[in-house]
């Protein structure tokens, strides 16, 4: 006989279902219960760095737009520090947020600042990136991915995570495209759940 390991086991995930907005963004469905829905101000007014807008669509295996998804965002500030770690961030910088796909068009977007480089194990450095987590009807376990920036070529080329992706052809699925519009710097990031150009997802 050996001693017993006494670890508990993680609660299994279940899909967030079609009505995830009631829980995470009730105002999007016209429910005014909370004085404020959480997650719709990611960087706050005092954040340093470049103000950017990130937007895109999510497509399923047929190429159809997913119109009932919710994306959560987790990112560092422009100096590469995360809120909630022991590094200082600007007052009001949360680094976390939520984006809801539009019920009609499927477009999702959020306003934030471009994050800085963050440390990786063994003295390496990670290219600027935003961590994303996607839940929706039909998704049994939230999908984790990363958004990198297509104008950060040298940093991306040295990024330990991008370099983990054996098929180089798949790395492009994590690059957001910089577009200068009249009112904002926009990064377009389309997510493909399945099929041609399928986005790389991580088991983190």
């Amino acid at each position: 006989m050996v001693q017993k390991l006494t670890y508990l086991q993680e609660t299994p995930s279940q899909t967030a279902g079609p009505y995830v907005h009631i829980g995470f963004a009730p105002r999007a469905t016209g429910i005014e219960i909370y004085n404020k829905d959480l997650g719709f101000d990611i960087a706050g007014p005092n954040a340093e760095g470049e103000r950017i807008r990130v937007e895109g669509h999510i497509k399923d295996g047929i190429g159809a737009k997913v119109k009932d998804a919710l994306i959560e965002v987790w990112q560092a500030n422009s100096k590469g520090n995360y809120a909630g770690s022991d590094s200082a961030v600007e007052e009001g910088f949360r680094g976390w947020g939520r984006a809801v796909t539009d019920f009609e068009t499927g477009l999702w977007r959020f306003e934030t600042i471009k994050p800085g480089q963050t440390p990786a194990p063994n003295g390496r450095v990670q290219a600027p990136h935003i961590n994303l987590w996607i839940v929706a009807r039909g998704i049994n376990l939230g999908l984790n991915t990363r958004l990198y920036f297509d104008d950060e070529e040298p940093a991306n080329a040295a990024d330990p995570t991008l370099n983990l992706i054996e098929q180089e052809e798949r790395r492009a699925s994590l690059l957001a495209t910089r577009i200068i519009q009249s009112d904002a710097v926009v990064y377009n990031f389309d997510i493909t759940l399945q099929g041609e150009g399928e986005t790389v997802f991580f088991d983190i």
Binding site: T6, Y7, L8, Q9, E10, T11, P12, S13, Q14, T15, A16, G17, P18, Y19, V20, I22, G23, P26, T29, I31, I33, Y34, L38, G61, I62, A64, D68, W74, A76, Y82, A83, G84, D86, G95, T118, P119, P121, G123, V125, Q126, W133, A136, G138, I139, N140, L141, G142, N144, T161, L164, I165, L193, Q194, G195, E198, V200, F201, F202, D203, I204
Partner: protein
């Protein structure tokens, strides 16, 4: 402050796979390629922190938080309570728990829900709270009704409450569903059965908890949530990067 360590590997054999034929929507929304395993970096080990000032006094009381003055939601009054723990059985304190659910008839207050059962004018269906210093949370609500959905012709979801929990790191982020002891629809549901391990399914079923019921007022169900455990950095501390 203790430096965050990486989280225990997620046991994917206890988690539902992406593609589950019987749950039809998953067929076109599941990646064809496996997830790439990624060792935790600082961005996976940290996560957002929420404060009490962000939560309103009725946010965890679904009987009242949408009700007209002097009214209350219709249905079986229950307390849903439990503890959020990690795999080391340590309480996860001060973490955000959010829930959403249908009303007693199985109807959601959502523009996309066209089920013929009526809305309850005094029930919204969402709640949120922070766990206390022992990892406990509690909501007051009504027991949701089962409802039909277009999967097979005659598919019905068991009564359930959707739950979202954060933990301390983004890698712990979890959304799940709480079912109720004794519901015969649980065994027939393809979303429940997406979880391959029958013991893991039991972890999703809240037992009736008479000890927490309030006599002549409401029943109670207990639903504990376990998030991934975190390593202590015994020998390695390679996170810092320099």
């Amino acid at each position: 402050m203790i430096k965050p360590g990486s989280f225990y590997q997620r046991d994917m054999q206890r988690q539902p796979p992406a593609r589950v034929e019987a749950y039809k929507t998953s067929v076109s929304r599941s990646p064809n390629y496996p997830r790439i395993a990624l060792e935790n970096t600082i961005g996976e080990m940290t996560g957002p922190v929420f404060g009490h000032h962000e939560i309103g006094p009725l946010d965890n009381d679904l009987l009242q938080n949408f009700a007209q003055h002097g009214e209350t939601a219709l249905g079986e009054r229950i307390i849903l309570h439990g503890q959020v723990l990690d795999e080391n059985a340590r309480p996860v304190t001060n973490t955000l728990v959010e829930i959403w659910q249908a009303n007693a008839s199985g109807r959601y207050r959502h523009k996309n829900d066209s089920y013929l059962a009526p809305l309850d004018p005094n029930f919204g269906g969402c709640g949120r709270t922070l766990t206390d210093e022992n990892g406990y949370y509690a909501f007051r609500t009504i027991k949701p009704g089962a409802y039909p959905w277009r999967n097979w012709v005659n598919s019905w979801r068991p009564s359930h409450i959707h739950l979202s929990v954060f933990g301390t790191g983004f890698a712990q982020r979890l959304v799940t569903q709480c079912y109720f002891e004794g519901d015969p629809l649980i065994a027939k549901c393809p979303i429940v059965n997406a979880v391959p391990d029958p013991e893991a399914i039991e972890q999703l079923i809240a037992p009736l908890d008479l000890n927490a019921a309030i006599p002549l007022d409401c029943l109670a169900y207990k639903f504990d949530v376990v998030l991934r455990g975190q390593r202590s950095t015994l020998f390695e501390n390679r996170l810092e990067g320099s």
